[in-house]
């Protein structure tokens, strides 16, 4: 039994929405296929009726700067991101996150849209985008809409697209302004699957010695990619200092819900790791505000 019956390569968003709406279930969007092909091959995903490959849609494959935003197409690959001058100048966290994914072969195929749409709580690109206050554009038969990335996720591997003839078309990342900086770091385990056992991204804006604004994302620290909102609130307006970081570390331990993943990491280990990881990431982000 073959893992798909029909394979469509639409050239426009409208065409894609149309086939997606008209193909009998189960039918799926495929981008780079680095996650989906594995799932299909290994039987983790049942064979599908149709795959709708959106990587031939030109407008989804570009990175542009428009007004105060970088617009990243959903089918932009991780390697494209890493090499892009605009992203390099504006979104260190995303560069660092995408640069760490897989090897070059995977980064040449895997897309940022697939990374987000797969909705894993510790996907590196996703955690990077989350701290950057990204907005997600979604296309459906009724047109396009924009939502904050925080509203995209529903549960592990589940997003608001579930069961709908919709897909992600673009990401909007605010341009970096003076006194802003971001960073991404992760910790891996030598054995077992390639996903990080813990990753963390921080975006920060400085006002003199004060933290004017900050966003912290951590994965996996809950069923969906996690924003440490309480800790962000605690830091806002504080002086950037060892004491402040220490308070933030405690706060993260209070609000992040770490779980034990068998043979990857215990919750306790993640708790031990997160404080240093966060410290290193926020310091790095802060240094980039100068």
């Amino acid at each position: 039994m073959s893992i798909w019956k029909e394979y469509y390569q639409p050239r426009s968003i409208e065409e894609a929405v149309a086939v997606l709406s008209s193909s009998p279930a189960p039918s799926n969007i495929i981008a780079g296929g680095t996650d989906l092909m594995l799932d299909l091959n290994q039987g983790n995903h049942p064979p599908v009726n149709a795959l709708i490959d959106i990587t031939e849609i030109e407008e989804l494959k570009t990175i542009d700067v428009v007004n105060s935003e970088i617009i990243i197409g959903a089918c932009v690959t991780h390697n494209q991101i890493v090499k892009d001058q605009n992203v390099q100048n504006n979104a260190d966290a995303l560069i660092e996150a995408c640069g760490l994914i897989g090897g070059p072969q995977v980064r040449n195929s895997a897309t940022i849209g697939g990374n987000v749409a797969h909705a894993l709580p510790a996907a590196d690109g996703t955690i990077g985008l989350l701290s950057l206050n990204t907005e997600v554009e979604i296309a459906s038969a009724t047109g396009k809409r924009r939502i904050p990335i925080t509203e995209f996720f529903v549960g592990p591997g589940r997003s608001i697209l579930e069961g709908k003839a919709e897909f992600v078309t673009r990401f909007f990342v605010p341009l970096k302004k003076a006194c802003q900086g971001s960073a991404f770091k992760r910790i891996m385990r030598a054995q077992g699957i390639a996903l990080p056992i813990l990753n963390n991204s921080v975006w920060i804006e400085r006002d003199g010695d004060l933290i004017k604004e900050v966003r912290i994302s951590i994965g996996p620290a809950g069923p969906t990619p996690f924003r440490a909102a309480n800790t962000e609130a605690l830091l806002r307006g504080e002086i950037f200092s060892d004491e402040t970081i220490a308070l933030a570390q405690q706060s993260i331990l209070g609000e992040a819900k770490f779980r034990t993943s068998p043979r990857r990491a215990t919750a306790e280990y993640r708790r031990q790791l997160v404080t240093e990881l966060f410290r290193n990431t926020i310091i790095q982000a802060w240094q980039r505000t100068f």
């Binding site: 897989g102 054995q191 240093e276």
Partner: protein, 933 residues
Amino acid sequence: MNNQTLTINVNGKTYQVPPIPGETLSDLLRNRLKLTGTKIACEESECGACTVIMNGESVLSCSTPAIKANGKFILTIEGLAKFEKGELKLHPLQEAFIKNGAVQCGFCIPGQIMTAYALLQHQPSPTSAEIQHALKDTLCRCAGYPTIERSILEAADAVRTGKPVDNDPHVPTSSGGKVVGTAQARPDSVAKVTGAAIYTDDLEFEGMVYGAVRRAMVPHAFLKSINCDKARALPGVHAVMTAEDLPGEKNHGLVIYDWPILVGVGERVRYVGDALAIVAADSTDIAREAAALIEVEFDLQPVISDPVISRHPESTSLHANGNLLKHIKVRKGDVAEGFTQADVIMEEVFHTPSTDHLFMEPECSVAVPTKEGRMEVYVGSQIPYQDRLQVARALGWPEERVRIVGQLMGGGFGGKEDIAGQIHAALLAQKLGRPVKILWDRQESLLVHPKRHATQITVRLGAKNDGTLVSAQTELYGDTGAYASLGEKVLTRATTHSAGPYLIPNVHADCYAMYTNNPPAGAFRGFGVLQSAFAIESVMDMLAEKLGMDRIELRRKNALRVGSETSTGQVLRDSVGLVECIDKVKAEMVRVSGLEEKDLFKPRPVDGAKHLVRGWGFASAFKNTGLGGGADDCSGAHVELYADGKFEVRSAAAELGQGLVTVMQLVVCEELSQEPANVKVLVMDTDLTPNGGPTTASRQTYVTGNASRLAAIAFREHVTGAMAEKFDVSPDLIRFEGSGLQIGDQKLTFPQVYQELVAMGQKTMVEYEYHAPETKPLGVKGDMHVAFSFASQAAEIEVNTNTGEVKVVQVISANDVGKAINPVGLQGQVEGGVVMGVGHTLLEDFITENGVVITDHMSRYRIPSIMHTPKITSIVVEDPTSTGPYGAKGVGEIVLIPTPPAITNALYNITGLRLHNLPVDQEVVLQHIKTGQ
């Protein structure tokens, strides 16, 4: 939008084909375009073997839908070399890989080269760090990563400057021989870098169908019923066979025939990989689908998953003779008396996990019935003649009706000694009268073939205050899994080596080789000694600390030397280079670290990163060469002269990538004064090559090396004798030279020599059967083995005290190999051994839970990549053994054995954490650092 044709340009040629649902790019390239240079090792995006270039970027063809390549330009390994004026012009990457010896088994090489090629397109002068970053997920189990990196650097220079790749392989050579000991490229290397090399899965035969196996997938049960109706009814299925249909022997096995070819109704399933039925169909997909449609009912039984529990009297017997495969005993002196003399006694218990060979090429067999009524089996096998025997018995045929045609092997490491798909393919081919291919995917490979034995090892070691070892008692439990395989032999080696390479007057070792419901355990590079070395070398460090003595000095003081008696009562007469290994490693440590001797093993924070701490660890080891233990260790070789003046040497010894073919070639060149280009090598064909015995126990350089050498000498004498008679000159005046035979003042070219021989009615081929010196079985005093190799290693590691992560920075590896016949091959073995040792220490853990395999994908069983590869300094010690060819002894296993304890000893020296099990778990390390527990 829904394409009806797929147009693709591959290596400059345009193809138009109808798309097939579900087809990947690698399927298209390999199956439809017949470009088999692109290799499949995992089909799960983990290994990079299938890398090709699509519109200038590297991609994994195994997980790229073929249709994505529509309208694109693809470059594969076959398209890299160009024909210029009728001559093959290799790409500098290909040249550098060959020249430096980066090509071993060759299976990963197309992927390595294509990944590197893509890198050079974007980055013409890459740094080492950039190369490592690029090759991060392109795995090589032969693990010549340092050589691969060096080759890419050199190729980049050549591409940039337009100059040819220099021809210095940068490998220390060995003196004394004209050809032996010099750096030579492998005879098969051009084929391996151009994608022309054919491995079993690349073969196709007229009318071939594809097989699949229905596995039990339960660890312990009785098979109650099996119904194949649905499978038989599936369109495209040609045959389904169950145990009822077996024409001959019901079981197979290397030593004991205890492993069912197919488990029948009412019979016992002993592990998840047990075969219940086999299917042949038009495609592998159909065959697998049919196998899944077979309905089975089990009467599930309680699972025995632990060798210690298996030995309890109340445990169910998995085999007719109980669960004890063998109780292995080593007795020397009187340990009780010995311990009374000891001032200090250590006692520790260690556990080592099961591990997988993870050779890059999954098992594949093709069985082809011939018109003459014989069966040819094409397979990469470490023991071709054993395959022949087992296949013939299963078919109910005499052995001569079966021919094993050995194929290039994409790695073996001991994992291709047992039967994989050979018998199943032959049974289906016999039934259908047409060729049948059975290719295992990675999951089946991980589930089914025998692993490294998991062990529990207790060491009790007594010493005097001055460090003199007086008594050693060890107890080992080895988990041999569901079937015997080579379990008894492996665990015998674990036991006889369990007191380490030291002179100890009183030794008492007991080993219980136990059956369980885990996957079988058998041969794996290191052959049991890896496990016991981890235990004894950990205890040696602990003892040194307790005695307040330098750990190197403790080892040196007790090291085996010429004249020492081993634990099994063998007095070593020559070739004991252990002290030299110890001294040279120590000197090198002092030199590279710049530390004073007394500070060598102290932890040192890294400048500017106080959470990173570095430190050294040290270990030694020994490993037998050859089967020993009273077995007749023999190998045959032919040397033949052809009409065109070229020579050929033949033996059915296995080439798994380790470089035996080069050894055979060099030895014959040496004896016949030939250039390597003039001597061909043929191995692994039971019709054409004499039995070379199993490729195991680090024996082939010694045994088949000797056979080849002696066959060459016999050939020389034969020719000399014949020519002396013919030309009436004294044999002393006849000399082999490169271009021909010097006979007194006359010179004959080799084609002329051939003609003379034929005219005289003399043979143009000589056969030689070499028998290694006699050995004694365990329990009888005397030589248990013909030789031992010795080694010491020092590992410098770095611990991240924030995360517990451990990284191996560098390893100094000194190996006494007797004589480095093939320095390029030796370099590959040393690098590959250290890296595999790093893998066994930091990554590898074949996990089963109550008999169920958890690590059934490459993504769950990780092996070292270039990122895990330390700097490796190889020190070659040559303490020759009188009976080896030019003094050589085994190399393949000793190179990895000291690595795990060297690393864990370093971990202790840095953190105070003494590991009693492998692999290192960074979480445990951090826990220890934070809490001291």
